[in-house]
Symmetry: C2
Subunit: 121 residues, 2 copies
DNA sequence: GTAATACTAAACCACATGGTTCAGTTTTTC
DNA sequence: GAAAAACTGAACCATGTGGTTTAGTATTAC
C-alpha cells in the first residue's frame, strides 16, 4: 500500500518537475486541447508533445480520448490531492519540531534569568 | 523572473520525485541527521546518500553544515511555499472551469425542462 | 480517389539520474 | 603517532529523459 502511494508520488512529482508539463497543465486548466494545439503552443513537434502528455497521463494528472483523428486532452480526474497531502504532512512535522525547539529555548531563557545570565554557551 | 521560479519549481519537484529523498525529508522533519545516519537508515552507501542530500540542498529544501568531520543536515529555510502556491493556483483554475461548465449544464437543464425533455444528444 | 491532417511508432541522440567502487583527506580517538 | 571514522571526488554503469527525424496509419476534406 505504501509502495503504491510512493510510486504515485514519484510519478506525479516527476511529471510536475518539467516546465513544459506544468505549462500544459495550466493551459488545460483553461480549456481542453488537442495534441496539435499543445505542440504549437509550446513550439515543439507533435511527437515531443505526445510524450509529455503521456507522462501526465501516467501520473493520472491528465486524461485523453481520441475521437476521429484528433486526441483531446483534459485535466484530471485527480486534483493533486496526494501531493498536497504529502506536503501538508511534511509541514506539520516541521511545525511540531519548531514548537518543541521553541519550548527548549524558552526553558533555557527562564533558567538563565534565574541563574543570572551566563555569558555564552 | 518567471524563469527563476520555473527553475526553482523544476528543482524542487524533481527533488521530491524520489522516494528516498522524500524519506530523508520526513526523517529530517523529526530530527537533524548526519550523512552517515541517513545512509544507514536508507541502506545506501555514504556517497549515494551524499548525492541525494546534494539534490535536496540545490532545491533549497535542506541545508547542511560541517562541524569537524561530520556534516549535519537540517530542513531548509524554504517550506515548500512555492510548490504549494503552484498547486493551489492550478486548483483554482480548475475549479473556475468546473464552475463554468456547471453553469452551462444548469442552463441546458433549464432549457430542456422548458422544451420538454428531448430524449438524448 | 487524392490530398491534407492528426496522430503513432521506432530509432536515435546527448545528457541527467541513481546508484556503485575505489582512492583520497581530515578529524577524532586511543 | 597509528587507527578508525566521516566525509569527498572521480570514475564508472545501466537506465531514463527531453527532445528530434523519419516513415507509417487512419480520418477528413475536396
Amino acid at each position: 500500500m505504501v509502495q503504491f502511494f510512493d510510486a504515485r508520488l514519484d510519478a506525479s512529482f516527476a511529471a510536475l518537475s518539467d516546465v513544459t508539463r506544468r505549462g500544459v497543465m495550466e493551459r488545460l486548466g483553461r480549456a481542453d486541447a488537442s495534441i496539435t494545439d499543445l505542440a504549437e503552443a509550446f513550439h515543439m513537434t507533435l511527437t515531443g508533445m505526445r510524450k509529455h502528455v503521456g507522462v501526465l497521463e501516467q501520473a493520472e494528472l491528465v486524461t485523453t480520448r481520441k475521437v476521429g483523428r484528433v486526441r483531446t486532452c483534459t485535466l484530471g480526474p485527480r486534483r493533486l490531492e496526494d501531493e498536497t497531502a504529502w506536503i501538508e504532512r511534511q509541514r506539520r512535522l516541521w511545525d511540531a519540531r519548531f514548537d518543541a525547539l521553541e519550548q527548549v529555548v524558552a526553558e533555557r531563557r527562564r533558567k538563565e534569568q534565574h541563574d543570572g545570565h551566563p555569558k555564552r554557551g
